[in-house]
């Protein structure tokens, strides 16, 4: 029996429950009309169903890792796939979805910026974890929106937090040396978090990079660190800084420009011929 949309939805929910990444596909157009509506899913090495031709299944399975970047946890798109049916090259239009565990925001340093930042991470649908070595700061009471609050040792800060490319780590510890220790560990990971941000003044950021260079890190490594973290909004308070960091994370995923829309679109200037008149 053909795999139905309802069955696949049940499997997706199960995968999300287990924290697994799952791709789903359905043929939405094909010269062979009987293939339209055929579907398939892939999670790790397991897959079920068929798009109606094993060659098409293989083409789609091969393409999914490059269609959805590892750092993304959600995605939806349509693509035309060419595959061989005997001697003929045929094309089918396939609609694909990625469902993965929610993106995670790991905040290192449970001080005053961490409080609004944890709330915003939660509002953005992320799983939020807050880490600090001071039990009085790393307390669940201070972070009602966080999914986990951990007391850590800065000698091994990520011992209880397995990180990967889909994670966002923001370093806002109380001390330069703690941020630095975390940074070195993150950059040495085999699959470092896709988003690494560190707060700090220009002077402090420069000092950090000088130290990284002395340790043998390349400029490419340093380029992976967003420091100072956040968009230039001009804000000062913890809430304002948290907005600027959250905004940069949205930009990172959504790929906007970060400029005010009024300047990007310039509707008055373009369509009414004036300079804002």
């Amino acid at each position: 029996m053909k795999l139905s949309a309802a069955r696949v939805a049940a499997r997706v929910l199960e995968a999300l429950e287990m924290g697994e990444r799952i791709y789903t596909a359905v043929v939405v157009d094909s010269a062979d009309r009987s293939m339209i509506g055929r579907r398939w899913w892939l999670s790790g090495r397991r897959s079920r169903g068929t798009l109606g031709d094993p060659a098409l299944d293989a083409a789609v399975a091969g393409a999914v890792p490059s269609l959805f970047p590892p750092r993304e946890s959600r995605g939806a798109l349509s693509r035309d796939f060419e595959y061989r049916d005997g001697e003929r090259a045929v094309t089918a239009r396939v609609y694909l979805e990625l469902h993965g565990p929610p993106a995670r925001m790991v905040i290192v340093g449970a001080g005053h910026i961490a409080i609004p930042l944890a709330r915003m991470g939660s509002m953005l649908g992320m799983r939020v974890e807050v880490l600090d070595d001071r039990p009085e700061f790393a307390s669940a009471d201070r972070f009602p929106d966080a999914d986990a609050v951990r007391v850590i040792d800065f000698r091994d800060p990520f011992a209880a937090t397995a990180l990967g490319p889909s994670d966002h780590v923001i370093l806002v510890t109380r001390g330069h040396s703690f941020d630095y220790e975390c940074l070195v560990r993150l950059l040495r990971m085999e699959a470092p978090p896709g988003y690494i941000g560190m707060i700090g003044s220009r002077r402090r950021v420069r000092a950090t990079h000088e130290q990284l260079a002395r340790e043998g890190f390349t400029t490419e490594d340093m380029g992976r660190v967003r420091a100072p973290v956040g968009l230039d909004l001009g804000g000062q308070t913890p809430a304002e800084i948290a907005v600027s960091v959250a905004a940069e994370i949205i930009l990172f995923h959504a790929g906007g420009t970060g400029v005010p829309l009024v300047e990007k679109e310039r509707v008055v200037e373009r369509f009414f011929g004036g300079e804002g008149a």
């Binding site: 139905s4 929910l13 359905v26 339209i36």
Partner: protein
């Protein structure tokens, strides 16, 4: 209703339903690729593909599937002239794939 709730309803349907999914969108559309809507014999059960006229076209087309029609793609054009005051002035075009969500609950298969 969020995406996960629509997914949960889809996974647990007890009546025949048609699933409508935005499979591609160009320009400015109210909902993006991946948005889903479930349509029953008597109308929308859950979710939205953007509301307004565009959604009406999809709901109308879905009735064919209850009458045995094949899965198909509905092309919704929201690029009407702005001055027409039509609700379809978002400025985009979207392709909405409609199919039987749970063929096993349709009596004829």
């Amino acid at each position: 209703m969020d995406e996960k709730e629509v997914m949960a309803l889809l996974a647990n349907l007890e009546e025949p339903a048609v699933l409508a999914t935005i499979v591609s969108a160009k320009g400015s559309t109210p909902r993006k690729t991946g948005a889903r809507m479930l349509i029953g014999r008597d109308g929308v059960i859950a979710g939205t593909v953007g509301g307004g006229c565009g959604e009406g076209e999809v709901i109308t087309a879905a009735q064919d599937l209850f009458d045995g029609g094949p899965p198909t793609t509905v092309r919704v054009d929201l690029t009407d002239d702005f001055t027409s005051w039509s609700p379809a002035v978002c400025g985009g075009i979207m392709n909405v794939f409609i199919e039987r969500a749970n063929p096993d609950l349709f009596g004829d298969v």
